[in-house]
């Protein structure tokens, strides 16, 4: 009786292994590429096993960014910039969304629904659509080529506000009233009750928003000028030449691996919270 069970187990596994292989192979390819010298890859003979130059390549991009043919910002700087941008966007978005959702759900004030719909409508205006006016505003505010310019325009978030709003709506009215009778004011209620209840949602959202911030491309490309302000995504693009010269593919791939690490770490370490936030309601 064991054999039919085995075959039903086998097929899903086969599909999964195939899927993982398809997704993992490019990454393996990048890892391997980052351990050879530029000319080996340049000849078009990409080996499938690790080469001798791993430590050297990674050290080069991390500290100096100077390859045989290209010069770029050191990855240490790029990573720092990306990290600051991603964290500020992530925490900024969460803070603003928590507060605005709290206002929309728990308070009645004139034009409440108007404000809610105004937030909602901005969902239809992603960064790309409003990029020119935003650029103009940021430049006029003197935030060009700075961390403020990189992060502030990306902080407002209708998606996160809506998500928190939906969650807040599930908090029973009686809990609000019990809190009122217990003597907690609005800020106290937010801090003591709403925030602790939202922590799984916050964690799940933090993962998504960190990766969103880390992967920003178009906006940092426009708003930064100096090399010291580049983010890692921009750094990688700038390392790839226009075709007149050979690219240092080994260094580019090493940089790519670096670029991949923080999101992977965030997902790995936040996974438990992330899943909890998506499936769990602690009520």
């Amino acid at each position: 009786m064991a054999s039919p069970r085995r075959s039903t187990d086998l097929l899903p596994h086969l599909v999964l292994v195939l899927g993982v292989a398809i997704f993992a192979f490019p990454i393996y390819f990048a890892v391997i590429g980052s351990t050879w010298d530029a000319s080996t890859i340049g000849r078009g003979q990409m080996p499938l096993f690790p080469g001798p130059l791993a430590a050297e390549n990674y050290w080069t991009v991390w500290s100096s960014g100077e390859g045989t043919r290209i010069r770029s910002t050191p990855v240490a700087t790029l990573m720092f910039n990306s990290l600051v941008m991603a964290l500020v966007i992530c925490f900024g978005k969460i803070t603003i969304s928590l507060l605005s959702a709290y206002a929309v759900v728990f308070f009645s004030f004139p034009l409440r629904m108007v404000f809610f719909w105004m937030i909602f409508v901005t969902l239809m205006l992603p960064v790309e659509v409003r990029i020119i006016p935003t650029y103009e505003v940021i430049v006029n505010l003197g935030m060009f080529d700075s961390f403020a310019g990189l992060t502030v325009p990306l902080i407002a978030s209708a998606t996160a506000t809506l998500l928190f709003r939906q969650f807040f709506l599930t908090i029973p009215d009686e809990l609000v009233e019990a809190s009122k009778i217990d003597g907690a004011g609005p800020l106290r209620f937010f801090w003591d009750t709403v925030l602790p209840l939202s922590r799984t949602n916050i964690a799940a959202l933090a993962v998504i928003l960190f990766i969103y911030g880390w992967n920003q491309y178009l906006w940092p490309l426009l708003i930064t000028k100096s090399r010291s302000m580049e983010t890692i995504v921009i750094g990688i693009t700038k390392m790839i030449g226009t075709g007149e010269v050979q690219n240092d593919w080994n260094l580019i791939m090493a940089t790519t691996i670096f670029a991949m690490l923080p999101p992977v770490l965030v997902v790995v370490f936040m996974q438990r919270w992330f899943v909890k936030g998506l499936v769990d309601t602690e009520k």
Binding site: E174, A178, G183
Partner: protein, 354 residues
């Protein structure tokens, strides 16, 4: 502790009037129950006392102080909610301590009061648990503990037992009564369950469609219902109510001639609603002594009692509650005695007691 005075409370939500002027005075230490069917405005009235809802007109005063413009937290009240409303992320101890902490009570004092409440409510072994690890009855006890530790002037209960199963409800009812007897805090308790109301209340307010139909002690309300609504609402099975016309010293319900209540001096030809409780109808020893004769429709033998659904000669329905030893079968003709002292008459038009 304090008395609570409610004077001329009205409440409308937009065009819909929910409360039409309620007056009541709840004495210091009294257990007052607001009883009524759903939608009668009893919860709204309680929420107005709590300050969670603002009345359209009228005054609420607690301990002699008018609290119309006082925030709930400053009214010195504690409330127990139907769905418990415990903070899900806090332990039982912290749930009870929260209100004190917000008010800045010193730590040793909080510890003392929470331990005391836990002892009274037998929650001591559960203090470290989260609400989701508790059963419904335990959660409701925590909700009561949260109210007790605050040592408020008034307890407000909003249908606190409705989410519990029947057995637990009976047990918690007794616990609430015992609790009130030991701490004697003025309490207002909202329920739609008449058994809860009758057993818990010092006095009760029977509410219907935004009016207070009757205010009185439970037995007083049972024995002398002030209106047809109260008569039908209090008591199970419900009081028999028949449309009748006074003629020749009897109440004529169709062809059946029923005796009239003792006290009422009723004019000939007056339209009345005539009432008798099922438990007050007696079997007559013989047809000669009977006031009226009925034909048995249906018998429900409950053991201690037997409920008999019967019909009068002209088809009017009459329910009787007879001792469990009575043997009755469908189709039997029963001679009945209706003791005049146990009969009620209400004005047919207004529904008020005559």
């Amino acid at each position: 502790m304090a008395e609570v005075k409610i004077a001329g409370i009205r409440k409308s939500f937009g065009d819909v009037a929910v409360l039409h002027g309620i007056d009541a005075a709840i004495a210091d230490g009294e257990f007052m129950v607001l009883l009524g069917p759903s939608g009668c405005g009893k919860s709204t009235l309680l929420r107005i006392v709590a300050g969670l809802e603002t009345q359209s007109a009228g005054d609420v005063s607690i301990g002699g102080r008018v609290v119309n413009d006082v925030e709930p937290k400053d009214r010195n009240i504690a409330m127990v909610f139907q769905n418990y409303a415990l903070y899900p992320h806090l332990s039982v101890y912290d749930n009870m301590a929260y209100g004190l902490r917000v008010r800045g009570t010193p730590k040793p004092e909080i510890e003392r009061r929470v331990q005391e409440a836990a002892r009274i409510l037998e929650l001591a072994p559960l203090l470290a648990r989260k609400p989701r690890q508790l059963s419904g009855g335990q959660r409701q006890r925590v909700a009561m503990g949260r109210a007790i530790v605050r040592d408020p002037q008034v307890f407000l209960f909003d249908e606190p037992l409705s989410n519990l199963d029947a057995k637990l409800r009976v047990q918690m009812r007794i616990e609430i009564r015992r609790l009130h007897q030991s701490i004697r805090t003025t309490s207002i308790y909202v329920t739609h369950d008449q058994v809860e109301a009758m057993t818990l209340a010092d006095r009760l307010i029977v509410m219907n469609a935004g009016h207070a139909e009757q205010v009185g002690a439970p037995l007083e309300v049972y024995e002398r219902p002030a209106s047809v609504f109260v008569a039908g609402f209090i008591g199970a099975p419900a009081m028999n109510l028949l449309r009748a016309r006074v003629a020749g010293g009897r109440a004529m319900a169709g062809a059946a001639a029923l005796p009239l209540p003792l006290a009422a001096g009723l004019d000939e030809g007056r339209e009345v609603t005539w009432g008798v409780r099922p438990e007050h109808v007696e079997l007559a020893p013989g047809a000669a002594e009977a006031d009226v004769e009925v034909v048995v429709d249906l018998v429900e033998a409950l053991g201690a009692d037997t409920l008999v659904h019967a019909r009068l000669a002209d088809g009017g329905a009459l329910t009787l509650r007879l001792p469990g030893t009575t043997r009755v079968r469908e189709g039997d003709r029963l001679p009945l005695r209706l003791p005049p002292a146990a009969l009620h008459a209400f004005d047919a038009a207004s529904g008020r007691r005559i």
